[in-house]
């Protein structure tokens, strides 16, 4: 991909009114979903994947990408104004955004957060444009052994990071996802597994109903469980920040951009972790760390740049490996698959223009989100006052239509409902949802590649541990598990006991 090919794709989109409208609509829908607490980026993408199924590939992808960028950016509005993050990615933004609003600087906080988001997204997308083709070349060297470990690596890492206080539950959610993905005809021999003679189960659980159920329905139930009212107490004046104000924080912008992109590439981790790590790093390196949490501009910029840079980072493994870097990216992967663009190492070979087209759509979407965000501040604040309980019945109808639309099967709606209840119960019991969905997506990859690899070596598992990339992926996965269990503490304790025994003797 060259800058010229990127420019050509960008101009092509700009010259196509349908694409421009698709990007603008997607961006606005994304901002709305992002800013309303309870409606997340993943939910928006899950719903729209089904709803845009009838549109052409280009237009559908443009809507989804613009929604993704809009939702991650839009969440800062509620974080600043009402101290509730619109999406989990903006939790870190609340820490300094809300104190700024309390000091009558809400407009400045919104303007800075939107600008930092824009710069973060552009940073991540630049990384996507540079590194996706390079990683794609590396991915071509992957065999079945590496793809199997990649799936396990994704689950282990996502399980550890999305359930930091109890990684066991994160891993269990991931393995449950893998297990549920085995329902239906198996990918090699078309043998019916766990179908019990039911024709509907032969195709397995369709991805979109699973995603809509786990993220959408689960969230609907969570919102309806509570009964909260939102109050906006602030005034809004000049939103667009001065360039000097932004430029003097260039170190935080670049550092958070890099952190967000790198975290984005880690399977299943996502924007919220990117924001927290960026925020924490900014606080550690700041000359005035005492201001963090009391309305620090540095903290606000770092968190926003980090979570938005994660978008581009999370898309890199989607396009090159077929592994999602975050929950919304998982839906994007599903959408690309549904529209016949199988993400993975062969994407750039089978569809040479797709990556540059996606990058161009990202750039266009980022600019659209920026323009809409700074021009429609006051009407959007009014939308924020709509009670979430009033929106949930409509969201449920959209979830039903989205699940039904892909195959026009009522069974998919039941699957959505069942996964919604499952997701809600798991969340209530402290299990994270991201590893479950990641496991479900990576299930076929793990299943087919483990059996294919064993067939190639006549049952010898040695290459799983001796091939270089395979060995690295295995080692990282094993170390991650070991580091989060009681084993290191036990070993240290034993060593200390042995040493003290020797000293005593």
């Amino acid at each position: 991909m060259t800058p010229l090919s990127l420019l050509v794709e960008f101009l092509k989109i700009l010259g196509n009114p349908v694409m421009v409208i698709a990007v603008l609509v997607g961006a606005q829908v994304g901002i709305l979903f992002g800013m309303l607490p309870g409606l997340t980026a993943t939910m928006a993408l899950s719903l729209l994947t089904g709803l845009t199924f009838g549109l052409s590939v280009d237009v559908a992808i443009a809507v989804l990408i613009a929604t993704y960028v809009g939702a991650i950016t839009g969440g800062s509005r509620s974080a600043v104004l009402i101290n509730i993050p619109g999406t989990p990615a903006q939790a870190a933004v609340c820490l300094d955004g809300y104190p700024l609003a309390m000091h009558g600087r809400a407009a400045e906080a919104i303007g800075l957060s939107v600008t930092a988001s824009t710069l973060g997204t552009l940073f991540g997308v630049t990384m996507l444009a540079v590194f996706a083709p390079l990683l794609g070349q590396v991915a071509l060297k992957f065999g079945s052994w590496e793809f199997f470990w990649l799936a396990i690596f994704g689950i282990v890492i996502a399980g550890s990071l999305t359930a930091p206080t109890d990684p066991l539950k994160g891993w269990m959610a991931g393995f449950l996802g893998l297990l549920l993905a085995t329902v239906g005809l198996d990918g090699i021999h078309a043998y019916p597994r766990f179908t019990f003679g039911r024709v509907e189960l032969q195709g397995g659980f369709a991805l979109i109903p699973v995603l809509v159920g786990a993220y959408g329905m689960g969230e609907i139930l969570s919102v309806l469980r509570r009964n909260e009212r939102l109050v906006v107490q602030t005034r809004l004046d000049r939103v667009l920040p001065r360039i000097r104000e932004v430029v003097r924080h260039w170190r935080h912008i670049i550092r958070s951009g890099l952190i967000g992109t790198v975290i984005g590439t880690v399977p299943g981790v996502g924007e919220d972790i990117a924001a927290w790590v960026s925020y924490d790093t900014a606080k550690r390196t700041s000359r005035s760390p005492e201001e963090f949490g009391r309305g620090s501009i540095e903290g606000l910029i770092a968190a926003e740049t980090g979570d938005n840079a994660c978008i581009g980072g999370a898309t890199i493994p989607v396009l090159t490996l077929g592994v999602p870097g975050s929950a919304p990216a998982a839906v994007l992967l599903a959408a690309l698959t549904i529209h016949g663009l199988q993400p993975g190492p062969l994407l750039a070979i089978k569809h040479p223009h797709v990556i540059s087209e996606i990058v161009a759509i990202f750039v266009m979407a980022t600019l659209a989100v920026f323009v809409l965000s700074v021009t429609l501040v006051r009407p959007m604040v009014r939308v924020l006052l709509i009670p979430r309980q009033a929106l949930m019945p409509i969201v449920y109808v959209l979830a039903v239509v989205g699940s039904y639309a892909i195959a026009a099967r009522q069974f998919d709606v039941y699957v959505m409902l069942a996964f919604g209840v499952l997701g809600f119960l798991l969340q209530a019991a402290g299990f994270p949802i991201a590893p479950l969905v990641l496991g479900f997506i990576l299930g076929p990859m793990a299943d087919d590649n483990l059996r294919r690899a064993l067939t190639l070596t006549a049952g010898d598992p040695t290459p799983f541990f001796t091939r270089p990339i395979s060995a690295i992926l295995f080692a990282i996965s094993a170390l991650t598990v070991l580091s989060r269990t009681a084993l290191p503490g036990w070993i240290v304790g034993r060593v200390a006991a042995v040493r003290s025994g020797r000293t005593a003797s």
Binding site: T52, G54, R225, P393, Y396, A408, A429
Partner: protein, 178 residues
């Protein structure tokens, strides 16, 4: 009913959680449920043919589900054992049925059950009743119940949603509706 739900929701208190995020009996229940589910998958995977004219054990269809089922069963056992140990060390009061009921109601279980009942009825009626009117009635009933607004306002929201959803998806997005 609407007022009752609203009043219930206003005093929502989160369920008691342990500081480390690990919840004794809750973990026992979750671990037990997961163990049963994984055992179900494991047994059924082991009943699949290990070899045939088409495959050997290396690429048998039951290999991966059996392996994952075994891993999940082990993890579930660890979670259950840990939950039991944690409960023994600092037992949470189990309480009588009314105490459980009170905790569940404060947590919002009543609202969840009502929401699920609405969703289930809507889903079961799909295909039997035209989608537009069904959507209008569903949104009306849900809005009235959970938002506690006036019947006229809820009806207006319901009718507007029914018409908009039907028109937008059938005409604009060309999506088939049930």
């Amino acid at each position: 009913m609407a007022r009752g739900l609203m009043q219930q929701g206003e005093s929502v208190v989160p369920p008691p959680a342990r500081p480390d995020g690990r919840g004794g009996l809750g973990d026992v229940a979750a671990g037990g449920g997961m163990a049963l589910l994984s055992l179900f998958f494991l047994i059924n995977a082991l009943r699949m043919p290990a070899s045939s004219a088409l495959w050997t054990w290396q690429n048998a269809p039951g290999l991966v589900p059996a392996a994952i089922g075994a891993v999940l069963l082990s993890l579930s056992t660890v979670l259950t054992a840990r939950g039991l140990r944690s409960h023994r060390q600092s037992p949470t009061p189990v309480g009588s049925l009314p105490a459980w009921w009170s905790v569940a109601m404060n947590w919002g279980a009543g609202r969840v059950v009502v929401a699920l009942a609405f969703a289930l009825v809507f889903t079961l009626m799909m295909g039997r009743v035209p989608f537009g009117p069904l959507t209008a009635v569903f949104v009306f009933a849900m809005t009235l119940t959970f938002r506690g607004t006036t019947a006229a306002k809820a009806a207006l929201i319901g009718i507007a949603t029914g018409i908009t959803v039907t028109l937008v998806f059938t005409r604009l997005f060309l999506v088939p509706l049930p």
